[in-house]
């Protein structure tokens, strides 16, 4: 327990003091929310009354994705490359303790991110009107799915490759994720691809849970659940503790 607390504190501090990491986890979602609420260039889904109504859940989805897949993924790849994970195996913390501490850090960072976006949304005149139970469930599933993808990449790639690839995925999924403009405004081929990716499923669930109400489609739940099972399973199968 003592080792877990020490590790969790250290993980949280490292996450919140890394410039590049804060850029993708907090700064970019905040800028996109503020920017596209004011600059009215991007298309909106039908039936949306105000821009924050769409952009708050969308940037929240981006934030969750950034933490699990990019920030923690890169941190884990660096730790693996530098022998940190190997060394942890022979401490009282052990590999299991490390995973618990990592999960704690991810959840703490997400709570901070979501709180910032939530209050900024309120300042922008957003009226959340939602199903918080579905939202929390969505956050948990998305965290599992994106952390799984992050760990799978981190456990197989060297840190330099991980930085490039995870940032590329971040950009691609930002555009194919229905986070700042609806997937329906993409060409049909891209929209079809987007619909089976975890980003679009996450933003859909967040949007319907927090925004205009409306039913969350079964397909969004199914896609996210499948990713939440598949990604960690792949990570568990291919993860190498030593580089």
């Amino acid at each position: 327990m003592k080792a877990y607390v020490a590790q969790a504190k250290s993980e949280i501090r490292l996450s919140l003091t890394q410039g590049e990491s804060l850029l993708v986890t907090i700064l970019i979602p905040v800028m996109l929310l503020l920017g596209f609420s004011e600059v009215k260039v991007l298309p909106l889904p039908q039936g949306v009354h105000s821009r924050p109504e769409f952009l708050v859940p969308g940037t929240m989805a981006l934030a969750v994705m950034a933490t699990g897949m990019v920030s923690q993924g890169i941190a884990t790849a660096v730790d693996r490359t530098y022998g940190v994970l190997k060394r942890l195996g022979v401490t009282p913390l052990g590999k299991t303790g490390f995973l618990y501490a990592k999960t704690t850090a991810i959840l703490v960072v997400e709570i901070i991110q979501l709180a910032i976006l939530f209050f900024l949304g309120l300042l922008l005149g957003w009226h959340p009107n939602g199903n918080y139970l579905a939202f929390v469930l969505g956050v948990i599933l998305a965290t599992v799915a994106f952390s799984g993808i992050g760990l799978f990449l981190a456990g197989t790639l060297r840190s330099e490759a991980m930085i490039g690839i995870s940032n590329a995925f971040y950009l691609i999924l930002l555009f194919l994720g229905g986070m700042i403009f609806p997937v329906s405004s993409l060409p049909t081929v891209l929209a079809d691809i987007a619909n089976i990716l975890p980003a679009q499923a996450t933003s859909q669930i967040f949007y319907h849970a927090l925004g205009v109400g409306g039913r969350i489609t079964t397909s969004a739940w199914v896609v996210l659940i499948v990713w939440a099972i598949l990604a960690p399973a792949m990570a568990a199968k291919f993860f190498k503790w030593e580089s």
């Binding site: 003592k2 080792a3 020490a6 504190k9 490292l14 022998g83 190997k86 022979v90 401490t91 009282p92």
Partner: protein, 304 residues
């Protein structure tokens, strides 16, 4: 029960055998040095003890446990210094020491460790910006902060300047004095000779010598008497009179009598040379150093 018991250890990477049939033991309050050239299998050996490598056959016991199965449990009682890694590159020595101290129930005071390993001046410098020697000293500090019973150090002084080496050796000697069992690898003889109580010399994954340092030295040490003489010596007459072989290995004025350097023999030789009116100089007795032993042993092994 010995602290560490290894018998007939084999480790393979794919089809390549990295360690072939090592057996050795280590005790509390003793330093076991695993010595060998680069690529001899030193790291593989020590990592088998730490639970990172799976033996393909043979048994490894640390504190009576199988390190592969009980790595985390052993993590409470052993300290480990990996070769060149184990700390997040953004972490400072102060943060890393506080974190590792946080893993253990009754850790040493991180401040005192910083002091004794001369890390105070860099305690707020990120790991990636430390010099090679500072990194090694921090990794050593992290391996002992939990008051371990057994410490494994893989090349602890590599890349460390002379002053840093002294600090590291002092800490290792203190561990021994406190009753800790220390296992360290090195490819440097000076290091082995200064620190080791017991020595395991390996080459190509095989043990070529194992035992107490003094024992190994006695076993392999060669003694000789040598001198120079500008006037020729009748070797046959010399050998008939003194009953020891006289060699002239280089064909010049150097003569060597191998195998013995007792005062009696020196007296007999000088008596003989005086009787024959031979003018000799540079008379000396010597015994082979650990370096000669090591080089000849690893050479023999290499030529097999």
């Amino acid at each position: 029960m010995a602290v560490i018991e290894v018998s007939d250890l084999y480790v393979k990477y794919g089809s390549k055998e990295a360690v072939s049939g090592l057996s050795f033991e280590a005790e509390y309050g003793q330093i076991l040095v695993v010595l060998g050239p680069n690529g001899a299998g030193k790291s593989t050996t020590i990592e088998s003890l730490e639970g990172f490598r799976k033996p393909s056959s043979g048994t490894v016991k640390v504190l009576g446990l199988d390190p592969q199965k009980h790595q985390r449990e052993l993590g409470k009682k052993i300290g480990v210094m990996l070769q060149g890694g184990g700390v997040n590159p953004r972490m400072t020595p102060a943060q890393a020491l506080a974190l590792f101290a946080g893993y253990y129930d009754n850790p040493l005071d991180p401040k005192e460790l910083e002091q004794s390993l001369e890390l105070n001046h860099v305690r707020r410098t990120p790991f990636r910006r430390l010099s090679g020697g500072e990194k090694q000293r921090l990794l050593l500090a992290l391996s002992v902060v939990g008051r371990p019973e057994v410490v494994f150090l893989d090349e602890p002084t590599s890349g460390v300047d002379p002053a840093g080496r002294v600090a590291i050796r002092e800490l290792i000697a203190k561990l021994r004095a406190d009753g800790v069992a220390v296992i360290l690898t090195t490819h440097e003889l000076g290091e082995a000779e200064k620190l080791g109580d017991r020595l395991l010399i390996i080459s190509h994954g095989r043990s070529i010598s194992y035992g107490d340092l003094s024992q190994i030295k006695a076993q392999h040490s060669q003694t000789q008497i040598s001198f120079r003489s500008s006037s020729p010596i009748d070797q046959d007459d010399f050998e008939t009179n003194l009953r020891v072989p006289l060699e002239r290995p280089f064909g010049n004025d150097i003569y060597i009598i191998r195998g013995e350097n007792s005062p009696e023999l020196v007296a007999l030789v000088t008596r003989y040379l005086a009787d024959k009116k031979v003018n000799f100089h540079d008379l000396s007795t010597s015994s082979t150093s650990l370096e000669d032993i090591y080089l000849s042993l690893t050479k023999q092994e290499g030529s097999k």
